[in-house]
């Protein structure tokens, strides 16, 4: 494992850049645990101060230190992205592998459910749900809802992959080695499916963070929780750009961009490395 990381660090420039960018992001997340300011409190520092040595990203119109507030925002957004990704990946892999390998009525039922989720219009439903659950629409619940909506497309992708893998000789070899269907799915098929899962995970994280930003900017999520989205909401609410408090919009935007770019580079470089086919091709196997 360590050798893999060392190889990636040494030879892939994208990975190095990703580590630097995400290192910064993770540093911010860790710093949030040591924040001198409670993000829930307002007017603890003078408001509308531009960036300086004392307030790295300046202060907001609500008298909060923007840098320390953003450490919480990054932590929460990342938390949302990761939890959503985990929930949706797990469901999509389970559904895709089962539907693909078992076939028959199980396949038809699972795909019918999956297709239903694909066609449901997400944003209106989210808006509706956030109206209904206004008070309990915290980050975890939002992550669960987004996770439940984010698995269907990939499940179908995984299922197609499994359908073709089922016909390969090595599946038959495994059957004749006495392996049960369950272990065939895990040992033979899952390694082929994982690169797909990995590649779409990035997409999923970015999508969920983006969804959260959309909801927050519209004022529909729990606005007291600091996230990248609520940062933009409050900045907008106080007419930051008009009032000349440009750092309130710029800082969250830049941090978001760094987060997205870092994740993208990380996933692309790791994915290319773990996909044995590209690796084989590169080393001439």
């Amino acid at each position: 494992m360590l050798k893999v990381l060392r190889d990636l660090l040494r030879y892939d420039g994208r990975f190095r850049l990703a580590i630097i960018l995400l290192g910064g992001v993770v540093a911010m997340v860790l710093l949030s645990y040591d924040s001198p300011y409670d993000p829930g409190k307002s007017f603890v520092v003078p408001w509308d101060l531009p960036p300086s040595r004392e307030h790295l990203f300046g202060t907001t119109s609500r008298g909060q230190d923007l840098f320390w507030w953003l450490t919480f925002a990054v932590r929460n957004s990342l938390y949302l992205g990761i939890v959503t990704a985990i929930i949706s990946r797990v469901i999509s892999v389970l559904v895709g592998l089962t539907a693909g390998y078992r076939g028959g009525w199980i396949d038809r039922v699972l795909m019918a459910i999956s297709d239903t989720f694909v066609v449901l219009p997400l944003l209106p439903i989210l808006i509706l749900l956030s109206f209904l659950l206004r008070d309990s629409m915290n980050l975890l619940n939002l992550a669960i809802i987004l996770g439940l909506f984010g698995w269907s497309f990939d499940a179908r992708l995984i299922r197609s992959q499994v359908l073709s893998l089922r016909e390969r000789s090595f599946t038959r070899t495994a059957i004749y080695s006495g392996t049960s269907g369950f272990w065939i799915t895990i040992n033979e098929h899952l390694p082929f499916v994982l690169p797909i899962v990995f590649a779409t995970t990035l997409n999923n994280i970015l999508w969920s963070i983006g969804m959260e930003v959309t909801l927050s900017v519209l004022g529909l999520s729990d606005l007291t929780t600091p996230t990248l989205g609520t940062a933009l909401f409050w900045a907008n609410q106080h007419g930051a750009l008009v009032a000349g408090v440009w750092w309130w919009i710029t800082a969250p935007a830049v941090v978001t961009a760094i987060l997205f770019l870092g994740l993208y580079l990380l996933f692309t470089s790791i994915n290319e490395f773990i996909d044995p086919r590209t690796r084989l091709r590169l080393i001439g196997g």
């Binding site: 190889d7 990636l8 040494r10 030879y11 892939d12 490395f273 690796r279 590169l282 080393i283 001439g284």
Partner: protein, 330 residues
């Protein structure tokens, strides 16, 4: 007059990834000539370098493959080509399909699966000479296809509607539309049934006999060479082990590897035990020292482990690279 002269060709695959650098010495010092009006067979196990040799002499030299040394020169009479210097556009315009064409194992790569066969003919003919009269082109194509023994209705079929053997024969028809001086056939019958293989090879022989061109036939199956080729070249680990007219190769093979290739083939009527060669084909990224065949040779001597034998002429048109054979000794 030689059609093709390959001199001391060295072509390697060089890859670098994640700090691992690998050089695969697929063609490592190969020299041979092709003459007009002959069928020249190239034999050898998979990964002996014969596919790389074909790629280089047909101009498909792409990274990570590169020719590091040597020359590949064609003489088409009115037109000469240095394959290692020629540009891709010149290759496309004047060489491919017109003077050199290629038939590979698995014809699907040349037949477009979503278009009727006649359309693929049209595409290829059109890129080289713009078709002005559609009917004349159709007539010409039908005549060509019939002359090769194929029914006209293959032209209106989609590739998947034809059997494997028929597709391969269509691929050969495509390859001969412009009557090229050199047809390169790379394992053209390897995946085909034995009766179909016979039909496809007959077709190749007929074409060669009628148009007096040159066919370079690459296959690991010595029995095919025995029935089709005029001269055979045996390749091993990127080098030539032996080259001679077909009768000489089969009646008096000099190189132990050639002897093995022939002796390891079962024959109907002979129940005697056939031995297999020990070991496996060498890794071209890290080939054995000296004579590359020495780890598997039943007659290995000390010299073989350290000194690579030169390819020498032992009699007219018979060359061998083996320490067992001295110059002019036959």
């Amino acid at each position: 007059m030689t059609l093709l002269s390959v001199q001391n060709l060295h072509a390697y695959y060089r890859t670098e990834a994640y700090g691992i650098s690998r050089t695969v010495r697929a063609v490592d010092g190969v020299s041979f000539d092709l003459f007009p009006n002959e069928i020249y067979g190239v034999a050898g196990e998979s990964s002996c370098g014969k596919t790389t040799l074909i790629k280089v002499i047909s101009g498909s030299i792409k990274h990570p493959l590169k020719a590091f040394e040597g020359s590949v020169n064609y003489n088409f009479g009115d037109y000469k080509v240095d394959m290692l210097q020629i540009s891709q556009s010149e290759l496309r315009r004047n060489v491919r399909w017109k003077r050199i064409s290629y038939v590979m194992q698995g014809s699907m790569s040349v037949l477009n699966p979503v278009r009727k066969v006649i359309k693929t003919f049209e595409d290829i003919v059109d890129t080289h000479e713009h078709i002005t009269d559609k009917n004349e082109f159709l007539q010409r194509t039908r005549t060509h296809v019939n002359r090769l023994g194929l029914p006209t209705d293959v032209l209106n079929a989609y590739p998947h509607q034809l059997s494997g053997g028929m597709r391969q024969r269509v691929a050969i028809a495509l390859a001969t539309v412009f009557q090229p001086a050199l047809i390169i056939a790379d394992e053209p019958t390897t995946a085909l049934d034995v009766v179909v293989q016979r039909g496809v090879l007959h077709m190749i022989k007929d074409i060669q006999a009628k148009s007096n061109n040159t066919v370079l036939l690459v296959t690991h199956d010595m029995a095919v060479h025995a029935n089709v080729a005029d001269r055979v070249m045996i390749m091993y680990a990127g080098r030539i082990a032996e080259e001679a007219p077909t009768e000489s190769i089969f009646n008096a093979p000099l190189h132990p590897y050639t002897q093995h290739l022939i002796n390891s083939l079962p024959v109907i009527g002979e129940k005697s035990t056939k031995a297999s060669l020990k070991g496996s084909p060498p890794n071209l990224a890290d080939p054995p020292s000296g004579c590359r065949f020495h780890p598997r040779c039943p007659y290995v001597m000390d010299e073989c482990r350290t000194v690579a034998p030169d390819l020498i002429s032992v009699k007219e048109r018979h060359r061998v690279a083996c320490h067992l054979v001295k110059e002019g000794s036959q």
